[in-house]
Symmetry: C2
Subunit: 359 residues, 2 copies
């Protein structure tokens, strides 16, 4: 079993990575303030993994409430969040009842936010069942729901007590979902880990074949990278913004096409390509580096051309982003392959980038 | 000007108490990370106090967005909260935009919760305009909205950067609202401040006449008492629960009659009488003490008899309370006049109390 320790302000916790973790409830039991949990999952994940987890907990005397939500980014709304509150209140769940998120990034973000605000905060455990959630959304304590005017606009910083990344759950992940997770994996190479980027170039076929040892090492590396960046900047005042590489463009793509048309990871992949193209225009990246990024994303089954929403529409969508400060949009750009920075783009460069980088 | 300092974990701030504070924007300006605020208020308060505050800020170069909500506890819902998010997003308010709550407890609770979760947290200032908000709800960082199945069920602990208690705003407060605030004032005497309870017995007429010096001293005393209790237990793991004297019964009254039928303070007053009657049944309070409590509440214009909802309905409503631990309802009871404690009530005593204490 691989272990990544996060030591965030007042809330240290561990990420455990291995096969067969879902039913190892000995990992969970010591963390429960009372023998009672509410498992929040969705209609896709529930038939696969809810019963094994529920049975294992019940066999140890834990009272289990299950709340099954509809599946998809389009349901990452207040209305769906309220289904969690309805379930918790109908079952009279208390302040010491622990919420367990069993699912991908949407379930993790919504359950985490529900845990942050139900009765002003209850304990919370993450069991991410997608690659994207295992390497990214379950690490670092960001929780949120979407608002019609912007993605992740309503949320909280709230840390889980434990993250169980069970590699078995990746076996059932559809190819498109797995690829979407690979976008965030590749992102860590591009942020500040050239060694990892080159390791991915050498091991991409084994990754896509979901080889256990390869997956476990890559997930650990991603979590370590994210943990290091988050620990230095828990509330995103500075360097944590690097984790948003590809996300300013990506959120605009998701929002512009309507949530759910593209998967989050797909939009991030196309967004990272736009960031690379912009960085080339600024004179930082050369054509060879661009080509290596494009090749790796393509081999991971990801889109490398952003949809043609039009320059003005992109600007309008990006102006709504949380990473706006005094009217200026912040972009994560690349100084060189494997080294990103927080910068700005002038209107001309941004226009040229969107013209070159979109379909 | 009277000042109460709160030194809560990572977020020290001041409560300032005086006349004429609303337009003293020099108190606010140094706390703004950017010259931009969103004032959240309601349809009752806006015609009285929005323009003076807005003008004073605008005259100093601050960009002001106003969000005016409907007035009343019945609007302390997600739907109304969402009007704040709609307003903030439509105006493209950023992470450094400060939210100012201008109103009573409902506005303070909702604005504080909006500040806690908008873009995962933005700065927040309280300008409470009711007695209840000045002595209670604006102190200590509790924010929340109601859920159809329970009061204040969704919320956060989130501290303001400043509280301005402008005594001028109490001049326009309807008598019923002022009395409701007096319930929380008297509560501090009953929790652990016999000196203050007796001071109130001696000064209740001056209080009800809204004499400036009397008000200022009483508000300062309440804030000091609350600050002391909260500082020892910011997340309500223990002694902070004392602040809920009268509230377990009170929330049941509010919820059982439908939010808005009784004001929160009225329900708390009747709830404190039930707590006193229960304490007498347990052999702690004598008839003379009960009579003094009843007399002071009555002189403050408050109800001392709870509505007859029926014992079973009370139990059902109270079982939904946040102060439930492992199925046991916690009650705040009185060991003697001016000394409360966190305890439990057996079924027989509770039944007898509700039969004796209700209409």
């Amino acid at each position: 079993m691989r272990t990544v320790k996060l030591d965030l302000d007042h809330a240290p916790y561990q990420i455990l990575i291995d096969r067969g973790l879902l039913t190892q409830v000995d990992l969970i039991l010591p963390l429960l303030p009372q023998p009672r949990v509410a498992i929040v999952t969705n209609e896709t994940v529930a038939p696969l993994y809810l019963d094994p987890l529920r049975s294992a907990l019940a066999a140890r005397g834990v009272q289990v409430q299950a709340i099954v939500l509809p599946d998809g980014e389009v349901f990452k709304t207040w209305e769906t969040l309220n289904l969690i509150f309805d379930g918790l209140l109908a079952a009279r769940c208390e302040r010491k009842t622990t919420l367990i998120a069993l699912g991908g990034g949407v379930i993790g973000d919504m359950t985490g936010f529900a845990a942050a605000v139900y009765q002003r905060g209850v304990p919370f455990i993450q069991i991410p069942t997608t690659l994207l959630a295992q390497v990214d959304s379950s690490v670092g304590g960001k929780t949120a729901i979407n608002h019609p005017l912007g993605k992740n606009m309503i949320g909280a910083f709230y840390q889980p007590r434990l993250v169980l990344a069970d590699l078995d759950t990746l076996d059932t992940l559809p190819a498109r979902e797995f690829s979407a997770g690979m976008a965030e994996v590749i992102k860590y190479g591009l942020i500040d880990d050239l060694f990892f980027f080159e390791w991915l170039e050498a091991n991409i076929d084994r990754m896509m074949a979901r080889d256990t040892g390869t997956l476990a090492w890559a997930i650990e590396r991603c979590c370590q990278n994210k943990a290091r960046i988050v620990a230095g900047d828990e509330k995103e005042q500075g360097q944590r913004a690097l984790l948003n590489l590809g996300h300013t463009f990506g959120h605009a793509i998701e929002s512009g096409l309507g949530y759910g048309a593209w998967l989050h990871g797909e939009a991030v992949a196309a967004g990272m390509m736009l960031a690379a193209v912009a960085s080339e225009a600024l004179g930082y990246l050369d054509a060879a580096a661009i080509e290596r990024i494009r090749a790796l994303l393509t081999r991971a089954g990801l889109p490398v051309v952003a949809p043609a929403l039009g320059v003005e529409r992109y600007l309008e969508l990006m102006a709504q982003d949380k990473k706006v400060d005094a009217g200026t949009i912040k972009f994560i750009l690349m100084r060189q392959l494997g080294q990103s920075y927080i910068g700005e783009l002038d209107y001309a460069t941004l226009t040229r980038t969107l013209q070159r980088g979109c379909a």
